[in-house]
């Protein structure tokens, strides 16, 4: 299980290769499916183009919530391996914000567990995004939906 925060830009694919290699042969051959989600920073266009994001979080609570979300996911689906990594700090367009992945015997569990990881982080983990725009303005991103706790 790979859970954590990255303070610098990182590539998702080597992390996923690492998670695959971390399984022993029996575990790996018991898996028939992995679903992986990679969220990246969108830039937008024009004067509202976002040139930079600041990703604030609540150190201590964040790690606790990511660990709980992973454990909850494992209790709901038969998961053999799991990745849940989130970026913090200053982020540039195209950089990875989140990697969530679940390995399972069958595709239904892998898809459902991966989707659950992504939604749970979005609604429960204490991260806040502040956008810095091309026109020099900055604003905290408004939540699309009230947090589900």
């Amino acid at each position: 299980m790979i859970i954590g925060l990255h303070e610098a830009a990182f590539e998702p694919w080597p992390l996923l290769a690492e998670a695959t290699q971390a399984m022993d042969t029996v575990e790996r051959e018991a898996c028939g499916a992995a679903d992986v989600f990679v969220g990246t920073m969108r830039a937008g266009a024009g004067s509202a183009r976002v040139v930079r994001l600041q990703l604030e979080h609540y150190p201590g609570m964040t790690e606790r919530m990511l660990t709980r979300i992973a454990a909850d996911t494992r209790s709901r689906w038969p998961i053999r391996q799991l990745v849940l990594v989130h970026r913090v700090g200053e982020v540039l367009p195209g950089e990875t914000l989140i990697v969530a992945a679940a390995w399972s015997a069958h595709r239904d569990a892998a898809f459902a567990a991966c989707r659950h990881l992504v939604e749970a982080v979005k609604h429960q983990a204490p991260f806040w995004k502040r956008e810095f725009r091309a026109d020099g303005t900055a604003a905290w991103v408004a939540a699309n939906t009230p947090a589900r706790i």
Partner: protein, 77 residues
């Protein structure tokens, strides 16, 4: 002592990051009132006690850390 923390837009609005209140047995709502000099609670305000989400009626005691923050906006588009 009770440690009070504010995050993100809320930290900027209030112009404060962390403060300490004298210890008394109290609740989250009362901590907010004391830490903000009675400011009204924003809509969708969230709170945590000792790194766990908490109701505004949750009790708070000496040594606790109480955090207030706006709805979270991490993750993907």
């Amino acid at each position: 002592m009770i440690t009070v923390r504010f995050f993100a837009g809320l930290r900027e609005q209030l112009g404060r990051d962390t403060l300490e209140l004298p210890a008394t047995d109290t609740c989250v709502r009362e901590v907010w009132a004391r830490a903000t000099d009675g400011a009204p609670m924003p809509t969708h305000l969230l709170a945590a006690v000792n790194l766990e989400y908490a109701d505004f009626d949750a009790s708070v005691a000496d040594g606790d850390e109480v955090a207030f923050f706006p709805p979270v906006t991490g993750g993907a588009a």
